[in-house]
Symmetry: C2
Subunit: 278 residues, 2 copies
Amino acid sequence: MRNQENKKKLVNNWFNFIQSQICLQFENLEKNFFNKNKRFKKRIWKKSNNEEGGGASYLLENGKLFDKVGVNKSTVSGIFKKEFRSKILGAGHDGKYWASGVSVVAHMRNPKIPALHFNTRFIVTSKEWFGGGIDVTPSQKDKKEKNMIHSKLKQICYNNNKDYVKYKKWCDKYFYLPHRSEARGIGGIFFDYEQKKWEENFKFIRELGLGFIDIAKKIILDKNKLKWNKIEKEQQYYKRGRYIEFNLLYDRGTKFGLNSGGDIKSILMSLPPKAKWK
Amino acid sequence: MRNQENKKKLVNNWFNFIQSQICLQFENLEKNFFNKNKRFKKRIWKKSNNEEGGGASYLLENGKLFDKVGVNKSTVSGIFKKEFRSKILGAGHDGKYWASGVSVVAHMRNPKIPALHFNTRFIVTSKEWFGGGIDVTPSQKDKKEKNMIHSKLKQICYNNNKDYVKYKKWCDKYFYLPHRSEARGIGGIFFDYEQKKWEENFKFIRELGLGFIDIAKKIILDKNKLKWNKIEKEQQYYKRGRYIEFNLLYDRGTKFGLNSGGDIKSILMSLPPKAKWK
C-alpha cells in the first residue's frame, strides 16, 4: 500500500503530464490545420493563502479550430466552510481537504464539431477518491459520431474493469437540465467516489486522459473540413446558452471551485465565449 | 383589517394593471422612436396542476430600442418541497405558499442605456409580506444618470416612510457577485419581508411600479438618440455575461421560480439575448 503523500505526488505529476499533452495536441491541431501562430496562453494562480496551492490554466481563444479551449490543472487544499462540509464526502468532521484535478472544456468554431469536456480528479478528505469523466455536447445530431464516442469509452472502461453502463447512466443523470427536462449533450461517462483499488483507479484515470486525446482528435479530424453556415452557428450559440445554464445552476465542479477559493477565471473557463438565448 | 383573500385579490389586480401599463409605455417608446410595428408577444402559461395558478408573460425582442424586454406577471400557489421550505419565511411548517408578482427585465440595444430591472411581489405562507426593488446595470459609467435614479428612488421611499438608506444597502448587498468581488450594477433599492402595515406597503408597491415607468422613460429618453460603437456593444455583451452569472448562480427569484413549478421561459426571461465571456 502506498501512503497518502505518495499518492498525492503521483496524481499531481500525472495531471501535470496529461495537461501538457492535451495542450500540445490541441495546439498542433490548431496550428497544422489553420493557424500557425496560435498558441495557448498560460496563467499561473495561487490561492490567497499561498500554502493552500493553486494551479496553471492554459487558454487558447479565437482560433480557427477552437473558439475557446481551456486546459486547467489545479492542486489545492484547505478547510471547507461549515455550510459546505455536509456536501463533500468525508469532510463533515473537520472540513479538511486536498484536491487535485485536470479539467478541459473545448468550444469549437465549427458548429458541426461538438463541445468537448474532460475531467479527472483525486480528492482527499477523511476519505480519498477519484472522479471524472468525458462528455460531449453537439448542437447537431450525428449518430455515427455518438456511437464512435460511446464505443471508445466502453472500451476504456472494459480494459479497466469499470462498469461502463453504470458510468454512462451516471453521466446522463448528471449532465441534465431538470428545468428544461433536457440533457446537456449526448452523454459519455461520469464517475465519482471511486475509493477502493487505488492502483487500478489511477491506471483508469491515466487511460481516460489518453483516451480523451484520442477521442477528441478523431472527432475533430473527421469534421474540421466540413462547411457550416450561419444558421448552424446560431444553433450552436443557443446550445451554449444551455451549457451555461447547466454550469452555473447545477455543476458541482463550479460550486466546488467557488467554495475552495479557486481562481474565478479558471473555474469559469468552461463558459463559452459567446452564447444566445431566445 | 382586510382579510387575506381580499389582500390577494387587490394585489393580483394591481399587478395585472402595472404589467399592462409597463407594456403599453415600453411598446410606445419602441414604436414612437424606432419601429411602428414592433409589439409585445403575450404568452399565457399554467402550472402543471391547473389549480395552482400560472402567469402571463409579455416579451418584445429584436427591437431597435430593446434587444429584449420581458414583463412577466404570475400568481401561483402550492406546497414547497421539503428541502426548500427552510429557505422561505414561514414555510417551514407545512410548505404551503401563495405568491404573486410582477417582474421586468429590459436589455437595451443601445449600450449606453443601462439594463433595467423591476420587481414587486406579495408572498403568503404562514406569514405574509411584500418584497421588490428597482436596480440598474449599465455597461458604461454615467454618474449623472446614477444620481438621477437614486434621487428618484430616495423620493419614492421618503414619500412612503421607507428607509431608503437601508433599501439601497440591501440592494448593493443582494446584487453582488462574490466570486468576482464585483457589484452587478449601480444598485437601486431592494427590500423583502415587509410584513407590517399592509396598506402602507401596498401603496409603496404601487408607487414603486409607477416610479419604475417614470425612471425608465427618463433614462431612455435621455439617451436613445446617442450614437454608439462596436466596442461599446462588446462591453455590453461582457457585462451581460456577469448578469447571467448572477442570475443563475445567486438570484433568489430564479431559485424560487424553479422551486415553485414556474414557467421556465418566464423565469429565464431575465437572461439577455446574447452575452460574451473572456
